[in-house]
Every structure is written in structure tokens, then in C-alpha cells.
């Protein structure tokens, strides 16, 4: 299946040595091997994340330098004298070859220094300290809202057997899926912000309960895309689960309804949804760039747009690195949660 989630792919006694029929204790009575402890698998995944982060650094460093123009021409324009240009290049450390620049950058990175903005002189780490929380909050609120809407919705559609309901559900989710998020953002901003005046059009206030006021609408925009995907996946995986035989076993055992709902319906169905959500969040990290620009949120996404147009190399590199780490971390988190929910999911 997709996303490395292997449901029910289990090899049954294929590797069995030929056994005498009369020997009852041959194989089907032996305990299987113990799995690796979970922390060991988490450690291995973290190790791989570090390698990914390194390559993200390399690619970000190269890509921004491959783009036409550089910070000097962006700052001085085309009219500056060659002497001024040369002086600025030396000052910014751009007069040496890119490989040397990279090693310098990497060395500074190991000291916890991501360089400073070429334009404002503010250290990138400082900039991330103020801007990253905005983006992280946006992601956190998006995940929470998506789960709060998707899970009950999918459960309701799957368990309440109203014949027309699944069709309505499929149609509406298809529409939700087809809408581009920047359009949804503009429409919702117009409706909620301008017409109804219940959401701020721009601005931000740090700190948890206060920022909710500014972040709920952008998070809602994300939900319009995420909820259809997730509720559909969860819906179909609940239907699959209900068809499985162990559900009948639960009925026969007379398992209490709340226990039944959790252990026999929801938990066996959740893993694909959780894994998918974590991957979708990786995609959403990219879309925060658009959302933060539209909603004028001081997150790292909007910062990235400015930095790219000004060829502010250290800022671009820093933010792309953070994005990369974020994507890897989110998918690791998704896999861990999925494997805690469903032991069949392997953390590889």
C-alpha cells in the first residue's frame, strides 16, 4: 500500500520446514520473534533525519546560487560601479568560490550560527526565533482542527447507515479537494474578514490563546483541503475494518460499546489516516508560504518569499533547512503515532 503502511501483509507459515502431520507441536505452537523496541526504531529514524537535513542544506545552498542575480545586484541595482560591487561582495563573503562558502557555512552551523541576513544584518537564528512559532502554531492549529472535524465526520458517515449520505459526502469532499487553497483563502478572507468582520484581515499577536484569533481562519483554509482527503481515507478504512472478521468476534464476546468502538472500530482504522495526515502536513508546510502572504502573518513562509526575491542567501538557506527538518519530523511523528495505534505498522 501507499506510505509504507502494510495492513495485513503477513506471511503465513510459508517459511515453515516440512513437518510431520502427527507432530502437533511442530510450528504452530511456537512463539514468534520479538520486535525491536520502539526507541531503537525512533533512534534509527532520527539518524536518517539528520542525513536528510544535511542534503536539504546542500540543495538549498546550491539552488539559491543557481538562481539568476545575487544579493549585490539585488541591493545595488544595475547602475553601481564595479568597485562598489566588488567591495560589497567581499564584505558579504561572496568573493570566494561556492564550495568554500559552503564549508564556511557548515562550520558556522555546527557552532549554532546560521549566518545573518545580508539586508538587515539580523542573525537568521534570531529571525527564526520570532517567526518560526507563528508557522508552528499555524500547523498545530490546522492539525487539531482537521482531526476534530475529520474523525467524527468519517465515523458518522461510516456508522450511520443512511443510504444517500455517502454520495453527498463524496460529492462535497470532491468539491473541497478541487478548490485551490489560495482561492479559498481569498474567498474566506473576504467573507469572514470584510463582510462579517469576525476575523482579522491581517496582523498577529504572539502567545497561545491570543494568536488563535489570527490563526483560525488560515487554519480553516487548510482544513478545506485536508478534511476531504482525511475523512475519505478514514471513512473507507472504517468500512474495511467493519468487514473484517475480528469485529464479529468482538460482537460475540459482548465487548462494551465504548471499548468496542475504540478497539474494534476506530483504532484499527486510524493508522493510514495518521500517516497520511503527517505527509499532508509536509505539503502544508509549503502552502504556509502562500497563506502567510495572503493573511500577512509574520511566519517563516512569508519571510522566505521576501528573502528569495532579495537573494538573501543565509535567510533562504536557514528557512529551507527548517522546512526540511519540519517535514522529516512531521512524518516521523506520524509514523510513531501510527505504530503506537496499530502494531502492524512498521517503523523502518
Amino acid at each position: 500500500m501507499m506510505f509504507g503502511f502494510e495492513k495485513g501483509t503477513t506471511q503465513v507459515s510459508l517459511s515453515m520446514p516440512p513437518a510431520d502431520v502427527t507432530d502437533i507441536a511442530a510450528d504452530s505452537t511456537q512463539a514468534g520473534p520479538r520486535p525491536q523496541p520502539i526507541w531503537e526504531r525512533i533512534l534509527r529514524r532520527t539518524g536518517r533525519a539528520v542525513i536528510v537535513a544535511f542534503w536539504v542544506m546542500v540543495v538549498a545552498f546550491m539552488l539559491i546560487r543557481l538562481a539568476p542575480g545575487d544579493p549585490v545586484s539585488a541591493a545595488l541595482g544595475g547602475e553601481a560601479s564595479p568597485e562598489t560591487v566588488a567591495a560589497l561582495r567581499t564584505q558579504l563573503g561572496l568573493d570566494v568560490d561556492p564550495i568554500t562558502q559552503f564549508w564556511k557555512y557548515l562550520w558556522a552551523f555546527t557552532q549554532g550560527d546560521l549566518g545573518s541576513s545580508l539586508l538587515s544584518g539580523v542573525p537568521v537564528t534570531e529571525m527564526l526565533k520570532t517567526n518560526l512559532p507563528v508557522t508552528l502554531w499555524l500547523i498545530a492549529i490546522t492539525v487539531t482542527m482537521t482531526m476534530i472535524v475529520s474523525i467524527p465526520l468519517a465515523v458518522f458517515i461510516a456508522l450511520v447507515r443512511i443510504p444517500a449520505l455517502p454520495y453527498v459526502f463524496r460529492t462535497l469532499t470532491a468539491i473541497g479537494l478541487a478548490l485551490p487553497s489560495f482561492l479559498v483563502a481569498l474567498l474566506l478572507l473576504y467573507q469572514f474578514g470584510l463582510i462579517w468582520g469576525i476575523a482579522p484581515i491581517f496582523g498577529y499577536e504572539p502567545g497561545f490563546p491570543a494568536n488563535l484569533h489570527y490563526l483560525w481562519l488560515p487554519a480553516l483554509v487548510n482544513c478545506v483541503v485536508l478534511v476531504p482527503v482525511l475523512s475519505r481515507v478514514l471513512y473507507s478504512s472504517i468500512l474495511d475494518t467493519l468487514d473484517e472478521e475480528f469485529v464479529e468476534t468482538g460482537v460475540i464476546r459482548g465487548v462494551k460499546s465504548y471499548r468496542f468502538f475504540w478497539f474494534y472500530v476506530l483504532r484499527p482504522s486510524l493508522a493510514p489516516t495518521v500517516v497520511l495526515l503527517s505527509y499532508m502536513m509536509g505539503v502544508m508546510v509549503g502552502s504556509t508560504v502562500i497563506l502567510e502572504s495572503i493573511f500577512a502573518l509574520p511566519g517563516i513562509g512569508r519571510e522566505l518569499v521576501t528573502a528569495v526575491s532579495m537573494r538573501d542567501y543565509p535567510v533562504v538557506q536557514g528557512i529551507i533547512l527548517v522546512f526540511g527538518v519540519l517535514v522529516v519530523f512531521l512524518s516521523l511523528l506520524g509514523d510513531i503515532v501510527a505504530s503506537l495505534l496499530d502494531p502492524r505498522v512498521k517503523l523502518t
Binding site: V12, S13, T29, G254, F263
Partner: protein, 340 residues
């Protein structure tokens, strides 16, 4: 070979199924009948085989004995299932809770999807042990260990904390049998319990079921379409075709002296009797589809001994043609000569 000794002196009848009709209510006026006039007994301590092609209704009959027809949106429209003074065809969900799991155990079809994948073996067994009963956690754990031991699982303390995906198919099915035994039921229903298991494991599971039958004097209802398997482990046999029981009798009787053309045809089509190099013998035609049953005998379209009176009227009922041997063929008396 078959242990037909139990049937020599008919023992206590545990369950009496009479004229059972099962179907799906599609609209208010439209009923799709899946099983009609299922008619047989389950006796104490016997292994009863329920055989038939797909769509013959054997699974539905099995589900009606455990009260989970509703899950398949089917209902009982008529007939009785008498068990210990109760009519299982009519009791409500609340009464069912005291019967299913407690008095009638169930071993699911597939070893792969039978156990709950997100619960440990121990957790599931404890659940089965505590089924509608007040037992302390420690008590239940002790009983669960006993059960694992009973089904010959080595190192039960290791298996207890494992998840189903860590076990082989055979072991999973052993665990499911252990769970079915949890409440010391009178009857165990096993709906094709060896689907997806290889032949050696299949034999082990069958051996286990027989052992359990002998040890606890339980009845086992074994649903299968594997005649060789039924021969080996069952005492009596119910042959189903097109939603009806066509022949009921001891395995020995039915194998040596079949009294229904369908059983005769089944016996002849057995793969282990085939002569190498010759074409395999099959039963002509397809089993009649649900809702497309012909009038008269439902096997009439495929029967090689068919006569004109076979095709008229209602589906013929089971008649005792010999002592403890029933057939639904109206020409059962003439078959002996014809099948030679």
C-alpha cells in the same frame, strides 16, 4: 478415519433446527430468501460437518446459531432453533448476550483477520474470559494462560504479550480456538477454520478440535467445503444445496450409501479418487443462484437421475430414508441401484 461410534447410539440432542428460513428484507414487500427449510440436530459431543458449495447457505445457518445475522443484514423469517429451552430464532439481543460466547463459542473463518490486530493475544483472551462476567483481572489472566496451554501453545507467557501479526496462521487459529473455549461452551462453531492455512497446519488444527471435543464433551459444528477434511474429523454430516439441507446422516453412511444425487455427485467429484491421466469429474452446471431457484428440487437442473416429477411443486423436505439418515430426494429409494 471417521469416528462414527458416537452416532451408533444417538446421544442427547443439544440444538434442534427446524424449518429455518433466513433471508434479506430488501424492501417492505421484497424478500430475498437465502436459506429455507434448514432442518437438522446438533447432538452433544459430536462433530457435525456442514458442507455445500458457495451460496448454499451454510455460513448463514452458522451465523444464525451465533446471532450475528444482522451484521450481514439478514434475518430469520421462520422456523425454530431450540437450544436449552430457548428458541434462538426469536430471542432478543439481551438474551443473546448470555448465549453467544458463553454457551456457544465461535472460531472465525480466517486466521489472518480473526484476531483483533491492535490488541495483544492476552488482552483478547482476557476479554473473552470476562465476556459478560465479573472476574478480576488476575483471575482472567490466569484463565487466559490456562487456555493457551490447552491449545498447546508453547511459552504462553511470551505469546500472551504478543500481537497477532507476530504469530503464524496456525498459532492465530489456536488462539481463536482458545478464545472460543474461554467460557466452557456447549457448542463450538467453526466456520471454515482452516481457510488460508497450509495442509499440515490444517491437520493440526483439526486434531486439536477433536481433542477438545473428547476432553470436554463439546459439540463442534464444522463448516467446510472440503469433503476429505469432513470425512476425517466429523461424526455426522449435513449436506446443503441451494439453501436447503439435502442429506443428513453419519459420515460413514453418507459416504458409503449416499441417498441424494447431489451427495453422489459430490462423492464422485472428489479429487483424491481421481484416476491420474483422466479428466476430473465435475458436477455439471452451476449451483443455483440465490433467488433463482428452480421449482421442485433445486438440484433437478443438474441431476443426472432427474425425472419429470422432480421439477414440480415445492422443494422436497428431508425424509428419514433409513434410521438416522435423511434425504430430500423424492426418488431416494431408487438411487441405490442407479448409483452403482
Amino acid at each position: 478415519m471417521s469416528t462414527a461410534t458416537v452416532t451408533e447410539s444417538p446421544s442427547e440432542v443439544l440444538v434442534e433446527i427446524r424449518d429455518l428460513v433466513i433471508g434479506i428484507q430488501r424492501t417492505r414487500a421484497d424478500r430475498l430468501i437465502l436459506v429455507d427449510s434448514a432442518d437438522f440436530d446438533i447432538r452433544r459431543g459430536e462433530i457435525l460437518g456442514l458442507v455445500g458449495e458457495s451460496g448454499s447457505g451454510k455460513t448463514m445457518v452458522c451465523r444464525s446459531l451465533i446471532g450475528t445475522l444482522k451484521r450481514r443484514s439478514a434475518t430469520i423469517f421462520g422456523g425454530t432453533i431450540m437450544f436449552d429451552g430457548m428458541d434462538l430464532a426469536k430471542i432478543d439481543e439481551r438474551r443473546w448476550r448470555s448465549v453467544r460466547g458463553n454457551r456457544i463459542g465461535y472460531v472465525p473463518q480466517s486466521a489472518l483477520t480473526g484476531p483483533n490486530p491492535v490488541m495483544t493475544i492476552g488482552g483478547q483472551l482476557v476479554e473473552a474470559v470476562r465476556c459478560n462476567r465479573n472476574r478480576t483481572e488476575r483471575d482472567a489472566r490466569k484463565r487466559a494462560m490456562e487456555l493457551l496451554d490447552l491449545v498447546h501453545i508453547r511459552r504462553p507467557e511470551v505469546v500472551y504479550d504478543q500481537y497477532p501479526f507476530q504469530l503464524s496462521g496456525g498459532m492465530r487459529q489456536r488462539v481463536m480456538i482458545a478464545a472460543a473455549l474461554a467460557q466452557d461452551p456447549d457448542i463450538i462453531l467453526a466456520d471454515e477454520p482452516t481457510t488460508g492455512l497450509d495442509v499440515t497446519v490444517q491437520a493440526e488444527i483439526m486434531k486439536l478440535l477433536r481433542e477438545i471435543r473428547t476432553e470436554f464433551n463439546m459439540s463442534v459444528v464444522l463448516v467446510s467445503h472440503d469433503l476429505a477434511l469432513i470425512d476425517d474429523v466429523c461424526d455426522r454430516l449435513v449436506v446443503m444445496h441451494g439453501g436447503t439441507c439435502v442429506e443428513v446422516g453419519s459420515v460413514k453412511e453418507v459416504a458409503q450409501n449416499p441417498k441424494h444425487p447431489y451427495t453422489i455427485a459430490l462423492n464422485r467429484a472428489r479429487i483424491e479418487l481421481a484416476t491420474p491421466g483422466t479428466q476430473l469429474i465435475t458436477i455439471r452446471g452451476n449451483p443455483p443462484g440465490v433467488g433463482e431457484w428452480p421449482s421442485g428440487c433445486r438440484f433437478s437442473e443438474r441431476c443426472e437421475f432427474v425425472q419429470d416429477d422432480c421439477r414440480v411443486g415445492a422443494s422436497p423436505p428431508l425424509l428419514e430414508v433409513e434410521s438416522n439418515h435423511w434425504s430430500a430426494c423424492i426418488h431416494a429409494g431408487e438411487l441405490g441401484a442407479a448409483s452403482e
